[in-house]
Symmetry: D2
Subunit: 259 residues, 4 copies
Amino acid sequence: MVERTRIRSDIAWSTPDRIVVRGRELTTDIIGTVDLGGMAFLTLTGRLPDADEARLFNAIAVTLVEHGITPSVIAARMTYMGAPEAMQAAVGAGLAGLGSVFVGSIEGVARYVQEGLAAKGEHTIAEVAAAIVSEHRAAKRPVPGIGHNQHKGGDPRVPRLFQIARECGLAASEIALVEEVAAAAEKATGRSLPINATGAIGAIAAGLGIPWKAARGIGVMARAIGLVGHLLEEAGNPIAYEIWQRAEDEAGAHLRPKD
Amino acid sequence: MVERTRIRSDIAWSTPDRIVVRGRELTTDIIGTVDLGGMAFLTLTGRLPDADEARLFNAIAVTLVEHGITPSVIAARMTYMGAPEAMQAAVGAGLAGLGSVFVGSIEGVARYVQEGLAAKGEHTIAEVAAAIVSEHRAAKRPVPGIGHNQHKGGDPRVPRLFQIARECGLAASEIALVEEVAAAAEKATGRSLPINATGAIGAIAAGLGIPWKAARGIGVMARAIGLVGHLLEEAGNPIAYEIWQRAEDEAGAHLRPKD
Amino acid sequence: MVERTRIRSDIAWSTPDRIVVRGRELTTDIIGTVDLGGMAFLTLTGRLPDADEARLFNAIAVTLVEHGITPSVIAARMTYMGAPEAMQAAVGAGLAGLGSVFVGSIEGVARYVQEGLAAKGEHTIAEVAAAIVSEHRAAKRPVPGIGHNQHKGGDPRVPRLFQIARECGLAASEIALVEEVAAAAEKATGRSLPINATGAIGAIAAGLGIPWKAARGIGVMARAIGLVGHLLEEAGNPIAYEIWQRAEDEAGAHLRPKD
Amino acid sequence: MVERTRIRSDIAWSTPDRIVVRGRELTTDIIGTVDLGGMAFLTLTGRLPDADEARLFNAIAVTLVEHGITPSVIAARMTYMGAPEAMQAAVGAGLAGLGSVFVGSIEGVARYVQEGLAAKGEHTIAEVAAAIVSEHRAAKRPVPGIGHNQHKGGDPRVPRLFQIARECGLAASEIALVEEVAAAAEKATGRSLPINATGAIGAIAAGLGIPWKAARGIGVMARAIGLVGHLLEEAGNPIAYEIWQRAEDEAGAHLRPKD
């Protein structure tokens, strides 16, 4: 018999009369005491938030719940149309698309912020920011977290999130760094590159001590909530069928014989 | 050209300078104001909870976040081992198993509670409960929400959740009905069939006005949070590889030639 | 220590110098000898097909590979747009929708065919068919496998599949039963209810000895192949972005302020 | 109204009486004529294989179908245990883990082979191989496709696949390049680094003209077939429950109070 590595997990355990999660008795120290945002924070960081951390974390989490009809939502609704008996799989299908293109960029911001500040040493924030922009430009990679997509005049979520961070006295260095990154990138490119919601959320997540590798998880949790809402709407007021029919008709129109 | 059905969704919309979710301005009426539990409640019911509803909803939601090493967790960790670059797909894989066997039973409880109370008329709660038990027995289907799995002496989560519901003045009829269902089932079978966590959560969800078709969604949202936590642990302290190796070795042992 | 159930799987095993799949040496008895259709048949039935079985099985399998822009394809393409680094997860998301509404009906047909013929006894095929139709009508459930969707004049795949089955000398009783089911349903309803592709495939799968519980698996395998093709096309000639933009614009149009 | 991009797909189209896939009439030119391996090849390359190509493609495809109890299989079986009504979602969950760690390496091999040969110019195969090894070593990335995992004495699939390629007169340059890569890597490291199955399959896929971006798709298709087989076995002879119970017990053992 091969010597085996032990399997261990420190997240939770139970016996017939006790359930303990992250070292806390579920029935007395979590249920009725910790709310869903606190539980999510605990999951991401291993500790419960204080009041300011809870407020700021909830602010970024609720920002991520709902974005209207996204690719992820369309994937979930299409899946639900074919398998309404498996709503959980439709949510799973919707989550699968939260990769590098959308939610992954939060991770990218949190990473350069955490790594940049960790290696700051005697440098100024502006110098760190300039280095981040230079590295991305040298590698011909876009700097995540800046630039506008839909919100040409600046994303309205950004000042609100930064205001709450200030009120909570949190994430000041991280936000300052992203602001300097945006300034440095604008200077380097001559283009308008305001901080977008991804940049604000990535900076705040970093400032809350959420490891950058976990930052994508905030989006995944939040969107799972939003996707459930879309499937409930799809159940009562379906749109997937119509989206499908139009796409199918048009996609093959150039191939079908004309009457 | 075929006349087309209009596509519409009432969940959210945006313009370059505004984002509105469920009729509320995201930046002023949600971010900084609504927490993640409130957002989840809004998603499931279309309205924000009051303080008591928020406390009770958070109580059932956090109960569902974490159950230690479940089949869903193992699926997510196995997926992450093969595709660590796609954490979101590992969460999606984990959610896909939240079907009829586990989380689906919350839905079953919420359904018989909502349908039973809706059709109650002049009958007593005990009569409604007796009818529910009879129907399940006639169809040879187990009554969901009662009976013990691991917690032989009674699930410790149940009295705690019921206590909070009482403190909040919510879900009294729904809880009474599940209690009568358990009593009727014990009488009919002669076996000990205490209310389990699924039964308590299903009754409370029904009492919070969450449609039974949406009840599974509470589990899906909550477990998405828990799964992210397990993947973060897997990244630092992996167990999937060892579980895999042991299973592979043992599963084929009867077929491999002996040395 | 609790006494443990042994884990065993009879599908495959390996040692450092041998790999054995379903009792066959992979390198000498499968690679170069068995083709993908034969391998799929082996997976579904536990045995290799003879030449006629292989031809007929391949006929139904290739029929299921490609249906153009389906809901499943749209889900996969949406997922790929957000996570192009995880093509496998996009295929997985696409498969998740192959539930009761679409591919599940093959299973329904295979089931009533296998159960109907197993219980036939002294009855004629027509009597078995009449009973199947009556049972579905009594339960107010549609009879799967009959009725036209797109192909109003009869699905062109059906006569072709039945022709191949005749040439192969296979599935005669099963096809006869589905034909009688269609006739009985038309008589009972007064509507035109020709056998559709699902009905033909379900009957043939049953006739090939594929257990009805496995019949959905034919569709799942086949569509996995088709989905890979769609993702390759999406990589070069994307359509998901445009489908998304149109849906998002239109879905919220009734809510957005008019300029 | 914004000017819209047209949506088009060239894969398939249908009218009420015709279905055309990749420019071929489904009923007359595919069903009964093309087998599943040919259909998969068509999906990956846009053309049907000749007899040699079909034999070699089928050889690599069937090699990938079945690997016994893999992480992907465990994920699928765990998902099926919780949601047996959604077998397709269990296959989807299993596929989601076919990422960079396992199946992704086929893609890596196909890529360096295709890019290396495309840029070969006047260089010898050995020089191209040396450059590939140098680049990987400079980037501190392992060279995919070489090195032994389980099969210490050399993977038995490799010589068999190469033999078939020779018999078919295909992929000679691609195989030669991988052989030179293995030799160069052994020379550079002083370690035994035989070509593994991934290396053989990646080289052959490249030699069959399958674009490297599509190479992962061969594994995804093939494993979808294998996963269906495992779920059928799980339905009759379940192992997921036992794997779960053992893992749960052991993972929390260090935390549970001793009696």
